[in-house]
Symmetry: D2
Subunit: 152 residues, 4 copies
């Protein structure tokens, strides 16, 4: 994955952070942004038993929630000022059980576009000094221009 | 979608409910099972502001969390007693903004298999008497036999 | 799957057939349209050894080729006169080996939209009187308006 | 993408090439292998008008056919001698129109496993000295052990 892009909005970091802060789901999960670059966003999710599935791992859907936000904001970081971002679809592969002390979800734009942006995402589990890939995503994001009720 | 299957485990309803009850993520989201049939499971998620994204809709990842559980338990309902279920991958299309009073996530087995099961899922938003399709999923589930640490 | 839609173009059948006839890949594979409804298109592919993979089944990619056309033209059948159709992405699950006398690929619109349409697809293998589901697809199609070089 | 793996079968190159040579679909499309490494396979597809869709680009399904073979053989290159490979599912994003002199499809294993392997794929269009990414894939492949009728 790579992310060498020129942002259309010089204040993209502030803009991504402000929109993220309005995602109440992120606060509910305990997730926070740890890095914002042009076309790349990283989110941290601490392990929490309240987010687990039946085997005690973090639920695949919870993993996908932070990874979708990482991919969506990676796409959003490259969009012009008058655009909002919506997820059209994504696919996630669960590669290993999501167990660890905390997780890093990284979203990176693969192909930006005026209307459609494709982003790749990966989640790593961190335990002590170990780091292990647990999930990968491909997401298709849409730029929405000037639609009421959909502002970032 | 259809769901006309013969379960291998006569106590599949009890078994699905017990495993679901161990998914702490479901309790955290406020989700509950409303129906269990052989190869088909429905889950109810009430609207909750703490689960929203930046536009005030339920976060796509949260929608996918309940839908993944619905698809996973639809698959699990057809598995023999010594099997556990794990999600290999899924794809979700977000068809409309997830707004409404409550949501129903329905998972239905499309093709059961000894090792690999494919399930379709749909989420409907319910507002007053209206019912609207907001998301669709295809998930690939795996039966895990006799693996320590992975029991349902 | 269902397909109860009102076409925006009264000549949609003729339009779909004409565009299909310009897909040289369809002629190369020996595929032909067997039905066009508003939001639903069926394509026939005879078995042919020249399209097989290493086990003698039809190659998954060839199955996806006719199914992508079925989904794309199902979407296209609902589009207005000045739109062209492009596939943004699709996912296919291979449910059973693609063996049989001939295959029917059916694409059905799940959710039409001005810019983005989602379609479901299924491929059935026909052998003597038997009919078996061998693959399912979800595809995301885009309407392209007035773009040079992209006309249907 | 990376591909730093130890093959279980020292003759993996020969084995991949022999299986590829039995895929009649590859010969029909004019595709050939240009590189085989442990966990990574590249396939060349020359442009051919007989493989185009209605706008004159290579049909998305044909692109997916060579890319599925690239991903499948990348997975197969890491499998033990008694395993065959089957595609469970894949997702492809079409990033740019598939036009050019020839195309290179590269499949790289992301996560190998005894039963399930996940591979990433990319297709590049080559025109004169230019090279452009036109499609990306994620595929889930299965190792099949000792099943009659499914030998590589």
């Amino acid at each position: 994955m790579s992310g060498n892009f020129t942002p259309k909005n010089p204040k993209f970091k502030q803009r991504v952070q402000q929109s993220f802060d309005r995602q109440q789901a992120m606060a509910t999960l305990g997730a926070s942004i740890i890095d914002i670059e042009a076309g790349q966003v990283s989110i941290r999710l601490p392990f929490n038993e309240t987010l687990t599935q039946q085997h005690g791992f973090i639920h695949a859907g919870i993993i996908s929630t932070v990874l979708d936000s990482a991919c969506g904001y990676a796409a959003f970081s490259l969009m012009p000022v008058n655009a909002a971002v919506l997820t059209i679809e994504y696919k996630i592969n669960l590669l290993s059980p999501a167990k660890g002390d905390w997780f890093e979800a990284v979203g990176i734009v693969k192909k930006p576009g005026r209307n459609v942006t494709v982003a790749d995402g990966e989640v790593y589990a961190n335990s002590g000094g170990d780091r292990k890939l647990v999930a990968s995503m491909v997401g298709t994001l849409m730029s929405i221009y000037d639609r009421e009720g959909v502002e970032n």
